[in-house]
Amino acid sequence: MLWPDFLHLTLRALIAHRLRSFLTLLGIAVGIAAVILLTSIGEGVHRFVLNEFTQFGTNVIGVHPGKVMTHGTPAGVLGTVRPITLEDSEALARLPNVVAATPFVQGNAEVEANGRVRRTMIYGVGPAMDQTFQMRVSVGRFLPPDDLHNPRTYAVLGSKMRNELFGDRNPLGERLRIGGSQYRIVGVMETKGQILGVDLDDSVFIPAARALELFNREGLMEVDVSYQPGIPSAYVAAQIKRLMIARHGREDFTLITQEDMLRTLSNVLDILTFAVGALGGISLVVGGVGIVTIMTIAVAERTNEVGLLLALGAPRRTVLSLFLGEATLLAAIGGVFGLVLGIGLAQLLHLAVPALPVHTPWTFVLAAESIAALIGLTAGVLPARRAARLDPVEALRAE
């Protein structure tokens, strides 16, 4: 049989029972809509989260004090952990392929300026921090490239901090008190917004050496190294490791590459998306059972017709594929309905709750439609096999 004829005959069989076919394909449509809606939300969240992370650049490796041992033995048992120092940060910045390195200390402190007091997050960083994390200054400039060990007492405000303390007034050149020390404001950062619950705008950036003093710390919490794009992160990480071991005498630090972190995060989010998709898929099983039922009824109703087809010389595999085609077409049409419904619902949801990101990739659409067709095919196997195995004489005689 020719393809167009095959399609025509199966379609005619479905149209002959419009209402019944529609109700049956609705089961698949609802399932596919659920799958598409849930995975669209999952993918939207996935992209949103990755975007949050990558806005600090992807070519960043963090060096943290202490070694996480595979068997949970803390490094302290084997020897004391040396703190990571400003000298370490300077040495890291001089490595080939490294663009910038910035020390990092954070803590809470009271900030006083313009007659107002506000308790907030203080970040002790190096003058290259803006470069390392791809952040921009909106007014003035970032911390100047002073000697790391003896920097001038300058401070840069987050945008929200500036509004809280100075309102619309120009804060440049104004004084600021943090924990008994005076600072002069040299810049204000561009607004970053909330990033996974952390508000970088409600903060003050001061030189790392000053922050170490302020919080009475011996070592840095972290040194962040950014490297030239195109260089494999593993290569740069190996360089850093060699240097740090040479400086500390052993591996008493941990490297976290942004790339590894993003990959792990991405994998976790993928699994999450898959899981919610599978949850929606449960309703597809119900739709599939509906198709099995309706196709079984169709075969029983059309026993005579099967006998006729066999008498007219249709091979058994033609009878088989006609009923299989019917089941598959039914599910495929249901799938298209479901796609329209699911994508529509996802967009509506996004309109209603703009904070909830949704995204429907083409691959999901194609995968969902293929799954729908596959469910139809599978659901059709038993009824179609029953039809193809009918004895022609008995089938023609059936009432």
Partner: protein
């Protein structure tokens, strides 16, 4: 040329056996016109089903145009049915959701014949059987006589060499029945072998060769001159 040799067909119903056909020997030349008569349950339909390769004999030999067809695979038998055999049934067996034209075209669709040729042949058949006005009607919109004409058009559209008709007038009034038989006889006149099962003597006697069956046996095989 049809040749049946010592055909037996036994049905098993639980423990009991039903001998539907017993030791049938039959030779039919191309272009013959046969009627098969006999009481109900005498094996007429079973004989026709075996001739049409819808059923396999329990024992015996069937050769069609010199070819042993009883041992063919199911797909090969389907091909023989498609290309050489046309069926006409008492209850028409039209597909209810297809139009008259589509029902007639169905065997050509199954055989993979291109739409252009199909259309030409259906058009000719509709004209031949006085159905042109009914081409787009579904079976439920047709009278019994028209339905059987559609069924006959369908049986002949692939130019079979044998037409097997099982009580083709059984569901028709006298006039429509006469008309259907005339159409079948017209086909026979073009050289197609025609085998008609009937319990109506008026129709049975029109055939040039009459078979009488009883309890699975061929009890009479009489030739007449064309009436």
């Amino acid at each position: 040329m049809i040749e049946l040799t010592d055909i037996n067909r036994v049905f098993h119903l639980g423990d009991s056996e039903v001998h539907a056909l017993r030791a049938i020997d039959l030779q039919i030349a191309p272009g013959e016109y046969l009627s098969v008569m006999g009481p109900s349950g005498s094996g007429k339909s079973t004989l026709l089903n075996i001739l049409g390769l819808l059923d396999r004999p329990t024992t015996g030999h069937y050769s069609l145009n010199g070819r042993n067809v009883s041992d063919l695979s199911s797909d090969e038998q389907a091909r023989v049915r498609r290309e050489q055999i046309g069926f006409v049934f008492q209850v028409f067996h039209l597909v209810p959701r297809l139009t008259a034209a589509e029902n007639i075209a169905l065997p050509m669709m199954l055989a993979g014949i291109a739409p252009d040729e199909r259309e030409a042949r259906v058009k000719q058949a509709l004209a031949n059987y006085d159905l042109t006005q009914r081409a787009g009607h579904r079976p439920e919109q047709l009278s019994g006589g028209q339905r059987q004409r559609v069924a006959i058009a369908r049986a002949t559209i692939m130019h079979p060499v044998v037409i097997l008709a099982d009580e083709p007038t059984g569901n028709l009034d006298r006039a429509s029945g006469q008309e259907a038989i005339k159409l079948l006889e017209g086909l026979n006149a073009t050289g197609v072998t025609l085998i008609v099962v009937t319990h109506d003597p008026a129709i049975g006697e029109r055939a040039h060769r009459r078979l009488q069956m009883d309890d699975g046996r061929l009890v009479l095989d009489k030739r007449h001159e064309a009436g």
